[in-house]
């Protein structure tokens, strides 16, 4: 056991394993870049409709479906289903595995983002929205100035869940011929090299953890109600400065 961990450490400490087109740096980049892109695309595709539908108090059905869809489709299945489809669509694009993986990741990330964003906006206290409207805020102002800021922590929680799932699932990209950290696992199995498998698994786990922690921090950061609690009460009045502060 000690021997094995020593081998793993040895592998990680050997600079030659980090550089080059098949080195750790390049695999980590492949892994994170496709994950990041997947999350961004999923966000662009799911967040705007989610907040708009929730603002209009419509699309409850869609939200429920998204929850079920997210539960019903195991991520590996998505990759498996998507690969043949994207294969035909993207037949001319080299490396095919890239598109299959990306689309799978986007599909994987959309449901939790949609559900959280929808719930976040829908659950903002009705009386606040009524007060906002009653003061003469336009619909877009109600959404951007009240519903989204107040829903932001929950929206970000959805993004976090999605991102962690994406980082973990991007590993499967290697199965369909894309790179990423999954390569170490696949190659490890092929070569009967446990050290490689372990290195791949370890790095994926660390990456997922970093994602979790990073987004968790961001979530607190954007909470309009939390950030004010750490803020000490400010005594000097705005009258002195004529400057507006934002929480």
């Amino acid at each position: 056991m000690i021997q094995f961990l020593g081998d793993v450490l040895g592998y990680l400490l050997d600079p030659s394993n980090w550089t080059g087109a098949r080195g750790l740096f390049s695999r980590i980049w492949e892994h994170t870049s496709i994950s990041g892109l997947g999350v961004i695309l999923a966000g662009l595709l799911s967040l705007p409709p989610a907040v708009l539908l929730a603002h209009r108090r419509r699309g409850e059905f869609l939200a429920v479906s998204a929850v079920n869809l997210g539960r019903a489709l195991p991520s590996f299945g998505v990759v498996g289903v998507m690969f043949p489809i994207t294969l035909s669509i993207a037949a001319l694009t080299s490396p095919l595995g890239y598109w299959a993986t990306l689309i799978a990741l986007v599909l994987l990330a959309m449901p939790p983002m949609f559900v959280n964003a929808f719930t976040a906006v829908r659950d903002v206290d009705d009386s606040l929205i009524e007060a906002a409207r009653g003061m003469g805020m336009s619909e877009s102002r109600v959404l951007l100035g009240v519903e989204i800021p107040l829903g932001l922590p929950l929206i970000m929680a959805g993004v976090r869940t999605a991102a962690v799932g994406v980082v973990a699932t991007a590993t499967l990209g290697a199965v369909v011929g894309y790179g990423g950290l999954g390569r170490y696992i696949i190659d490890g199995f092929a070569q009967g090299n446990d050290v490689l498998i372990f290195v791949g698994g370890l790095l994926v786990a660390l990456l997922a953890l970093a994602t979790e922690v990073g987004f968790g921090w961001l979530e607190k950061k954007v909470d309009p109600l939390r950030s004010r609690r750490i803020r000490p009460p400010r005594i000097p009045t705005l009258r002195d400065t004529g400057i507006r502060t934002h929480p």
Binding site: G134, G136, P224, L225, P233, I235, T245
Partner: protein, 368 residues
């Protein structure tokens, strides 16, 4: 057009979708400019619905609502609302904005520059006597009473000619409520806004409003009159039961002391003799005597201290603990009189002593 009502409901009806019963039924009512009208009635009688139809948060199913003569349907709802102060039933301060930002919301929406917004916020802090240190706090840091005041300040921010207030002093304890009501009256005296105020509390309606609209379930207007007229002539059994048993006492709260005749009371001049004092006490059937000359009230002494005294001037005088100013209400007076040893209260106009108010005088007003 001089006498256009500030708000006019004409045969307004509201039936919510999916509901068979009307929330508001064929209601017509006018609110004059500068007037405060209270809407009162049991829970669910359509008070909030009525209010929200003015700023188009709710559209009536029939009838028409005019604001300064213009059909509200002809205005853009967003612009209409910016010109009407609205205090919602749940206060509804935005929790992610500071107190100052909350108050400055409408001016900001109207595109005022920052300097003007903040100057206005300062003014409002002053007006509602809110501690300026609270400017940069958040609504969750405020007490219930402070929140409600901020809610009112927020509605007043852009100086709208019309205020709609849905139970603005609802969620606070009776003492804070009294203070807020008092403040409302003072502010209203200065600003003279046309105000429609919803309340559950008949005493609040009577104290604050120029006219009171009493509504029944289904949004049926039972009576719409000044408080005094409602207390004197309730239109029907519903109004009567709504006013409660202490209708007479409520009337007292509306009558100032100056509306009744004060009596000289058991009072003699300081230079009067002990005999004259005893005679006066006997005449009034009391065991004390007041010493007064013209509009100066020197004080009073208990009857037993007259025994053995040589003259009145040598006696130690007690101050009247129970005294009132002439603008106090008869209800205040009753309170003072009943709880005082002398069962009469001295009434002053500033330093000038006017006379005494006895329990009998007040009692006569309750009966009539």
């Amino acid at each position: 057009m001089p006498n256009v009502p500030a708000i006019e409901f004409r045969q307004v009806e509201k039936i919510y979708p999916g509901s068979s019963a009307a929330a508001v039924t064929d209601l017509s009512l006018e609110v004059a400019e500068g007037e405060t009208v209270a809407l009162i009635g049991p829970s669910g009688c359509g008070k909030t619905t009525l209010l929200k139809m003015v700023n188009r948060l709710i559209e009536p199913t029939a009838g028409m609502i005019r604001v300064f003569g213009n059909d509200v349907r002809s205005s853009n709802p967003v612009e209409l609302r910016r010109g009407i102060g609205y205090v919602i039933q749940q206060v509804g301060l935005l929790p992610h904005r500071t107190v100052a930002q909350n108050i400055g919301t409408v001016p900001e929406l109207l595109g005022w520059d920052d300097r003007r917004v903040w100057a206005r916020v300062d003014e409002l802090f002053d007006l509602i006597q809110l501690d300026p240190e609270l400017r940069d706090r958040y609504p969750s840091d405020l007490s219930g009473g402070q929140r409600q005041r901020v809610g009112v300040a927020r509605a007043l921010a852009a100086d709208p000619p019309i205020m709609l207030m849905d139970e603005p002093f609802g969620a606070v304890d009776p003492i804070v409520r009294k203070a807020l009501q008092q403040q409302f009256l003072e502010v209203q005296k200065r600003l003279g806004k046309t105000t429609v105020l919803v309340t559950h509390d008949i005493d609040e309606a009577i104290t604050l409003a120029d006219r009171v609209a009493i509504l029944n379930l289904g949004g049926i207007l039972e009576q719409f009159d000044p408080p005094m007229a409602i207390l004197r002539d309730p239109a029907n059994a519903f109004v009567m039961s709504f006013l409660g048993h202490d209708r007479g006492l409520k009337r007292l709260s509306l009558l100032p002391i100056s509306s009744v005749k004060l009596v000289k009371g058991p009072a003699v001049s300081r230079s009067a003799s002990i005999e004259e004092a005893r005679e006066m006490m006997e005449r009034w059937g009391v065991d004390w005597i007041a010493l007064a000359d013209g509009d100066v009230l020197h004080g009073w002494v208990p009857g037993e201290e007259l025994d053995g005294a040589s003259d009145l001037a040598s006696l130690a005088l007690r101050r009247f603990e129970s005294w009132l100013t002439s603008d106090a209400s008869l209800l205040d007076a009753l309170d003072v009189v009943v709880s005082s040893r002398t069962s009469a209260a001295a009434v002053f106009d500033g330093d000038r002593y006017l006379g005494m108010l006895s329990a009998e005088t007040i009692g006569r007003e309750i009966v009539t």
